[in-house]
């Protein structure tokens, strides 16, 4: 892409990232959540891929790191669901008697395991979408 697109992308990518992080971390308070915020951050990754091209993306993209982070997101989600396994699967024990995340409803540290799950889903969606789109962009050539 041209110079103006590249320079604008340099300025905008951190802002898209922090907005996505805001959507993810306030999933229990405002509209949005893990998937929406993760897709927003993945939009920043796609903007980088489109603006700077595949060769630049290859230098910044680590297949193993992204694969591991996607797995980690799934595991954290499952781990949060397992926390209250003494009562039931998905029992929100952090909200009922947990040490943290049981603040007054409406504050950031409330709603039990929901912020943890939102962060896990956001990480999984971001890494998954970016990995999928980079894999499509790297697909060998146009013919066969």
């Amino acid at each position: 892409m041209g110079l103006i697109v590249k320079t604008s992308a340099r300025a905008i990518i951190p802002l898209i990232g922090i907005f996505g992080a805001y959507v993810v971390s306030h999933g229990h308070l405002t509209p949005g959540g893990g998937f929406q915020g993760g897709a927003t951050i993945a939009g920043a990754g796609v903007l980088f891929l489109v603006a700077f091209g595949l060769s630049e993306m290859r230098k910044h993209y680590n297949k193993h790191l992204y694969s591991a982070l996607e797995g980690l997101g799934g595991l954290v989600f499952l781990g949060a669901a397992m926390l209250g396994i003494g009562t039931a699967f998905f029992y929100n024990t952090l909200w009922h008697n947990g040490p943290i995340l049981n603040g007054k409803p409406g504050t950031l540290l409330s709603a039990g395991f929901l912020p943890i799950m939102n962060l896990a889903v956001g990480l999984k969606v971001f890494t998954g979408l970016v990995s999928a789109l980079v894999a499509i962009a790297m697909y060998r050539r146009w013919k066969s």
Binding site: I4, A9, I13, P14, I18, A21
Partner: protein
């Protein structure tokens, strides 16, 4: 240190987004969460935001940006009425002109190009730092202005501003 620049801009946006969590100000939880998330964003985007981006942390430059807002707004208002007049009369003389500019940094080209695009009637097609020129689609080229010597007839005072803001 590009990390500092990315961190500061991300944290400022976080503060704007979460304002009002404690009265009109910010609760401690939001401030700490913002530090963590802005730290992550700053660390991951420090290679992207550009090596010399810390120059935009200069507070004097922020004042210059604020001073630029009315200039740009007034240029947009004037040009909008001009384009409305062109729409009514239908007398246009479109064409793509090469505008030589005296800029060095990428940010200066971006600011000037976006300012030209925002003022209607002119549209930046391409920025060529190699030949120090912008290619601008102009909806109504005055007679004899097909090869402008400077950006003055196309962009007005914007080149001066862009040179200072992006330095």
């Amino acid at each position: 240190m590009p990390f500092i620049a990315a961190f500061v801009f991300a944290y400022i946006l976080w503060l704007i987004l979460t304002a009002g969590s404690k009265g009109l100000l910010w609760s401690t939880q939001e401030l700490i969460a913002g530090l963590i998330f802005a730290g992550i964003i700053g660390y991951t985007t420090k290679d992207i935001i550009g090596e010399k981006s810390t120059r935009f942390l200069n507070p004097i430059r922020w004042l210059e940006w604020i001073a630029y807002i009315p200039v740009l707004f007034w240029g947009m208002v004037k040009a909008n009425f001009h384009v409305a007049w062109l729409v009514i009369t239908g007398k246009i003389r479109p064409g793509i002109v090469r505008v030589p500019v005296d800029l060095e940094e990428d940010a200066q080209y971006t600011i000037l190009g976006n300012s030209i695009t925002l003022t209607p009637g002119t549209l930046t097609i391409d920025a060529c730092p190699k030949e120090k020129a912008l290619y601008v689609h102009w909806i109504d080229i005055p007679e004899g202005m097909e090869r402008p010597e400077s950006s003055e007839p196309v962009a007005g005072p914007f080149e001066k501003w862009a040179r200072r803001l992006g330095k």
